[in-house]
């Protein structure tokens, strides 16, 4: 009991000394999480996406994702579909921007066409899944405003409000694990009416290169439709040494063939 009081006093002194608002604390946590993941340069991973409807029927897709880390601006990513077979080779190239809308191209292998597409549709579902495009895009600090809510069992709970009015959410409630490199354990999504829409839980975390935490499973549950999407990742490859040339329209076509 005595210890608790001392801790509380100590914390309030620190809190007073820093005079930190919940907004500042929230931003600080988001920045700490970003910093903890700095320096991975590039990675590539294969994943299986399992879509489950409310009756429990499932369908699967398999994809390959390559990511290039950029510090000046948002990351670049290239996603290639390997199945279902009728869309095999369909690929997207995304240049995330810290400020403003992302640049995105779609490659259609049947007619060999690269098409610049609007990145306006952030809230729409990614290939019929419970993941919206914005859930899968690179998480840049600048894309949200923050408010620290509480600390619970080593988890820092932070509310994030999307800056972009085109987002499908009023807010997200994110649980950071401060003892594990600020990795994210859970995200709750609140729709435009501020009702709980989805919960995303991360599990089967693995530490790569002694620094980078990557979850092996993302499980997204939609509470309103009772549908579910599970992403299962194979091992990440952080030794691919990808460069800007691997994230061009030329590379997009090559990846889809």
């Amino acid at each position: 009991m005595k210890k608790t009081i001392i801790t509380v006093v100590a914390l309030s002194i620190i809190g007073f000394a820093n005079a930190q608002t919940p907004e500042q604390r929230g931003l600080e946590i988001a920045k700490a999480a970003e910093k903890a993941d700095l320096g991975f340069n590039s990675s590539s991973v294969q994943l299986k996406m399992t879509l489950k409807n409310k009756n429990g029927q499932t369908s699967e897709r398999s994809l390959t994702t390559r990511t290039l880390e950029l510090t000046e601006d948002g990351d670049k990513s290239l996603i290639v579909f390997n199945s279902p077979k009728d869309v095999k080779g369909t690929s997207t190239l995304t240049f995330t921007h810290k400020v403003g809308s992302d640049d995105q191209w779609l490659y259609l292998p049947s007619i060999k066409r690269v098409k610049r597409i609007s990145s306006n549709n952030k809230s729409g579902p990614f290939v019929g899944s419970e993941f919206a495009y914005e859930d899968l895009s690179s998480q840049e600090v600048e894309k949200y405003s923050y408010k620290f809510l509480e600390e619970k069992n080593g988890l820092l709970i932070v509310e994030q409000d999307p800056v972009d009015p085109k987002s499908g959410y009023t807010r997200r409630v994110v649980s950071y694990n401060k003892n594990k490199g600020y990795r994210i354990e859970k995200v709750e999504f609140y729709d435009r009416k501020n009702a709980l829409l989805k919960t995303l839980t991360y599990s089967d975390y693995k530490l790569y290169k002694n620094k980078f935490w990557r979850a092996g499973v993302f499980n997204m549950v939609n509470h309103q439709s009772n549908k579910e999407t599970r992403l299962e990742f194979n091992d990440y490859n952080f030794d691919v040494n990808l460069t800007d040339d691997d994230f061009s329209q030329v590379a997009l076509k090559r990846a889809g063939n």
Partner: protein, 403 residues
Amino acid sequence: MKILKSSYHVLIFLFLLTQFNGYAQEEDNALVHEFELELEAEYRYFPNKSAFEGQKDHFPSIAIQPEYSSQWNNGYESINATGFFRLDQDDNRTHWDIRELYYQKAKSNWELSIGLKKIFWGVTESNHLVDIINQTDAVESFDGEDKLGQPMIQYTLSTNYGNFDIFYLPYHRKRVFPGEKGRLRFPLVIDEDAINYESSAKEWRQDFAIRWSHFFGAFDIGLSHFYGNGREPLFAFDASGNSNAFYPVINQTGLDLQVTHNAFLWKFESIYRSSEAQDFFALVAGLEYTFSNINGNGLDIGVLGEYLYDDRDELALNALQNDIFFGSRIALNDTQDTSILIGGIADLESSSKIFSIEGSRRLGNSWKVELEGRFFSNIDNNEFILSNFREDTFLRLSISKFF
């Protein structure tokens, strides 16, 4: 089937195969092979009585498309092959092709492809003006998006000033037109062998093309030039009314531009084509706007509008001189990828209109069903091309199985 005429395919295939084996053995442990097969059953039905003698109304058909690729050197080197065969009521639509068969090597900022390949250029939806590298597979589909494999050496260089593509095109492929039993043809069945070349080197004329493409923020731009045997034959008539069709040697400069701003895509394509026989200018300009995730459940509805202009005289294989295209793309973004495209092209100077509907949906994990309808309405008698198709309204249903 014109097997002899395609024998050059086989020669190139054999040549490349021997080359590839050498490569494959060196890097054996990193080889990744993939093989896919698509089997398609199709039924086309033309409800109107045919305009010309010999034409059929019902066209059951099957097609097969095998695809093979092998990659090594972390995907920076590959061999890609796609074959195609269709069996149809119309003898000319019964055809086979090597859509692609090429070796590719990429290294940092350059890429080299050698073999038969398919290239797409352009941004608009209703007409593909700048797209000129491949010959159109005119018997395969009405929209002209199916292409014949083009022999080439393609070198791509990526720089800070954009991508530069250089194409060496050593062989020209003739367009195949529907046969006697086929629809969507002219009163006289066009024999492709009877179509000559302006160039004395004929199909072996050594052709070249170059393209520069780049993007700056919201702008995607492409500038291209092609010099060689044209892909569209010209139909000329002498004093006694006999027709003389030939492939002219052309110079074609093309520009394509897209501006992507919020949910708007602004699109522009234009070409200037010159030859001994004919010079002309054509453009397509339009926009696409998408209302996305309308029901909060993924429903996207896009609206498209494009203006088409072509200052060619009437002796061209193109019916789009001064027309408006309007359309709507509906995507459910459901697990089965259901999508529908409806549209219409209306001639601003006559009553002619063509309406179309295309829908597709995946069934299970490895089947796909497609439905297509093209409706020719109030076609003006003075339309050089379209007047022949006035009775060729059709419905097409196809089911594909992917292995």
